[in-house]
């Protein structure tokens, strides 16, 4: 248990050091309202990373999340522009449903046709993105075409936090409970950790992966509306390349690309790390052009550290060695 926890502890420590460094020169950065602003800004990344986490846990990858987000966002924006009277709750439902359906398409191709997920989502990524152009004719939906309720919702504050941040918190809590205390949540680990053994316990590998993609899609759909409403604009290229930032958050958070290992807490920390870096750069007067290189370095460092931790040491056969390991766990 100690080793497992340490991965998250290490990352939490790195985040605290980072905050301390920034605060030593710019104390305003760690003022509560600024931290809340940073968290709100990081929420879409966090929500998508939570979905990506379950997909990666099952030994898959979902490269279509950003395209899914953009398509759902465009549909919501166009719906709002055409029928401003539709309440936000309905739009939220439509967004989540549409996103989930797109996730299901990925999941079905992976499950029923056994196509590798990287190929499936590479394909659906371009298809979803292209579809935005087809439905919008390449036109933008701008702020003035959207209703005040539509754009106001993510920014509306409840208990001092904007709705966007609350959605981030809600998604995190729901995912923690789901992962920890539902059979499906445990099946994600089982399928990724040992797919062969999962079959022996009656868990269908394909079906579990299908639900992982569905979840990832639903969360991407949710973000689609939140994103478009927050920035009050929808066009073909929104969140372009964001899928890789999402994967980066997971990897930094210690989710093993080989599947079956990692925690939701890790993902949350990974997303926060990237969010803090992004928001701190302009504050500490470093060009925002540094952000890309920093997140790239963070990915490489994180995956190097995580792999070191889990490197196999060979079988334990010698009695002496056996006693040592048993002793260490007791």
């Amino acid at each position: 248990m100690s080793l497992f926890k340490s991965r998250e502890a290490l990352l939490a420590g790195a985040i605290l050091v980072l905050l301390a460094l920034i605060a030593s020169r710019f104390p305003a950065f760690i003022a509560p309202d600024n931290l809340a602003r940073v968290f709100t800004d990081t929420s879409p990344l966090l929500i998508l990373a939570l979905g990506q986490t379950v997909v990666i846990l099952t030994r898959c990858i979902d490269l279509s999340v950003a395209a899914n987000l953009a398509l759902t966002g465009m549909v919501c924006a166009m719906l709002n522009a055409a029928m401003p009277g539709v309440p936000v709750v309905v739009i939220l439902l439509i967004a989540v449903t549409l996103g989930a359906v797109m996730g299901m398409v990925n999941g079905l191709l992976v499950w029923k046709l056994a196509i590798p997920s990287i190929v499936v989502t590479l394909g659906t990524m371009t298809i979803y993105r292209g579809t935005i152009f087809l439905i919008s004719d390449g036109a933008w939906v701008n702020a003035h075409e959207m209703s005040a309720a539509f754009t106001g919702f993510p920014r509306a504050t409840v208990l001092g936090l904007p709705m966007l941040a609350w959605f981030g918190i809600l998604a995190a809590v729901v995912m923690i409970v789901m992962i920890r205390s539902t059979p499906l949540g445990r099946a994600f680990y089982a399928v990724g950790g040992n797919p062969h053994a999962a079959v022996y316990t009656g868990i269908s590998v394909g079906r579990t992966q299908f639900w992982a993609f569905t979840l990832s899609g639903a969360l991407a759909g949710l973000c689609g509306y939140l994103w478009v409403a927050r920035y009050a604009v929808a066009y073909v290229d929104i969140a372009g390349g964001f899928e890789l930032e999402v994967v980066a958050a997971c990897v930094i958070g210690g989710i093993s690309i080989a599947g079956g290992a990692g925690t939701i807490l890790g993902t949350i920390l990974g997303a926060l790390f990237l969010g803090i870096v992004k928001n701190a750069l302009p504050v500490v007067d470093i060009s925002p052009f540094w952000q890309m290189a920093i997140s790239g370095t963070a990915i490489i460092v994180a995956v190097t550290l995580n792999t070191r931790n889990t490197k196999r040491k060979g079988r334990i056969i010698l009695r002496r060695a056996q006693e040592q390991t048993e002793g260490a766990t007791a």
Partner: protein
């Protein structure tokens, strides 16, 4: 066959034996591409009794277990539970029907805790259908206590040793209220003391009226705990009956289909000079203090229980793993071997136990498998010469009497025995000094087995030095000039001549008669 007693034909001599089977399989057939794994087999299990399923590797025992537990679906045949016909689409279905199994392979999850491994798939649920962790922990603790396993339910499985993991697998099988408990070679990885504890557990399960299917090829064990037996050979049912009615010799004849001492080729034993010398091999966790020599034209057997460290020593010799200490000498010269490539250059080759993962490159054609380590021989300045590749591949595969449709056929379409021949042909084409064969006949049919044995003898007669790792006592005794017995990563004995008996092998391998 003098022993073809069908289980339904005998009159029960014991009053406590029930005649109604709780589980009955009839005419089960299961085919895989190229192999008929089960051919119309039947099996009956009775409450409160242990039925031993006996058969050689490749006889179809594991396929039957997987059919019984819903992992495989049979092509034809019926399964009846308590008289009612059932079909198992998934492992879950079999579990619901009260059939549980301790599988041979580890079917556990390293990232989950002990408690979860016991209950995954049927975890206790609490409010809102969420997993009730508290109940799961306490129930896990209860089951673990029942089998005297001193394990914390919250420990992640990856922190446990092999023996402890096995206890978790047993606890998992007991976590459902099972009518039928299948144990697929449950003692393979256990120490002597743990095996005794397992026997106690089997006795308790019997007393509770559960039917037990006990798969093993250790005869002492079968005679110790089983009430009935069923024997499979090459995927067919060749006999069943009461243990009380048979002797070990009867079972061996049923299992093998002929007398044991006829299997092995005659060998002239005249080993020459020392070829390979291993001095002071050690590894942090796998083995230590390994010293032995291998002579020209000799077959050196390595015997031990599964997991005694034999394969690990061989893989270190072949450059797969790095020993922390030790020296390899060939013809008196020290060779540094850090990779298989260097081992092949030094003249040491290795036929691994895990043929599908480490031996044959499935997906590549036969001839490409054979020429893979010899490409410099069959090419001109790095460019392939297909005609020479085919010629080299033909030379060695035909020497081994390979049965294949064509040399460009995918090696994955061959039977296990023929795949093994391809792997051996691959190495012979490199003209090695020392060939290491790790469980060379495991899971291959009897015909191929004899061919592999005959060929080993021929190789040794031609002056090649052979190391044979084997867990099959007849094979070890029948083939080896000398035998090294390993136990818990150490050399327990080196046996030769009259010392070489089944009893000495078992005694040293299990450490009987020494202080534990």
């Amino acid at each position: 066959m003098q022993l073809s007693v069908e289980s339904r034909q005998f009159d029960s001599p014991r009053s406590d034996i029930s005649d109604t089977p709780v589980l009955a399989l009839r005419d089960i057939t299961k085919t895989f591409p190229g192999v008929k794994a089960l051919d119309g087999v039947s099996l009956e299990l009775f409450p409160g009794q242990v039925t031993a399923l006996i058969g050689e590797n490749g006889a179809g025992k594991s396929t039957l277990v997987k059919t019984l537990t819903g992992i495989y679906q049979p092509d034809s045949g019926t399964i009846h539970v308590a008289g009612a016909p059932v079909t198992f689409a998934t492992a879950q279905d079999a579990s619901v029907a009260g059939i549980t199994a301790i599988h041979q392979e580890t079917v556990l999850f390293d990232e989950l805790t002990v408690a979860e491994n016991i209950f995954i798939g049927h975890a206790p649920r609490g409010r809102f259908g969420l997993i009730d962790w508290k109940a799961m922990r306490s129930r896990a603790a209860y089951i673990l206590a029942r089998i005297d396993a001193d394990l914390d339910p919250d420990t992640p499985l990856r922190d446990l040793g092999i023996a402890s993991k096995h206890l978790v697998a047993i606890a998992r099988a007991l976590s459902v209220d099972a009518r039928v408990v299948v144990m697929d070679e449950p003692t393979a990885a256990l120490s002597h003391k743990e095996i005794e504890e397992l026997y106690d557990l089997v006795d308790r399960l019997k007393a509770e009226g559960r039917a037990i299917l006990f798969i093993s090829h250790k005869f002492d064990e079968v005679f110790r705990i089983a009430d009935r037996y069923t024997v499979f050979r090459d995927g067919t049912h060749v006999g069943a009956g009461l243990m009380a009615d048979v002797t070990e010799g009867d079972l061996v004849r049923l299992m093998v289909g002929r007398d044991v001492n006829q299997i092995f080729p005659e060998r002239r034993k005249a080993p020459g000079d020392d070829v390979l010398k291993v001095v002071g091999y050690a590894h942090p966790t796998e083995f230590e203090n390994i010293n032995f020599t291998l002579r020209r034209g000799e077959i050196l057997g390595f015997y031990g229980l599964v997991g005694a460290g034999r394969s690990e020593v061989m893989q270190a010799l072949f450059g797969i793993t790095k020993p922390s200490k030790g020296v390899t000498q060939i013809d008196g010269q020290i060779k540094v071997i850090r990779s298989p490539a260097e081992a092949v250059e030094a003249g040491i080759v290795y036929v691994p136990e895990d043929r599908g993962k480490q031996g044959a490159v499935i997906g590549l054609p036969i001839f490409q498998n054979v020429t893979l380590p010899s490409l410099t021989q069959t090419s001109r300045s790095g460019f392939l010469r297909l005609s020479e590749e085919f010629a080299l591949a033909r030379e060695y595969t035909e020497r081994l009497d390979l049965r294949a449709a064509a040399l460009d056929q995918d090696v994955g379409n061959l039977s296990g025995g023929n795949q093994q021949k391809v792997v051996i042909a691959k190495w012979l084409a490199t003209k090695p000094r020392v060939i290491i064969l790790d469980e060379p006949t495991k899971g291959i049919d009897i015909g191929s087995k004899a061919a592999v044995h005959a060929f080993m003898a021929e190789l040794a007669a031609q002056g090649l030095s052979v190391i044979m790792v084997s867990s099959e006592i007849p094979e070890v005794l029948g083939m080896s000039d000398r035998v090294i017995v390993m136990r818990e990563g150490l050399i327990a004995a080196e046996l030769e001549g009259d010392d070489l008996t089944p009893e000495t092998l078992v005694r040293f391998a299990a450490g009987i008669g020494e202080s534990a």
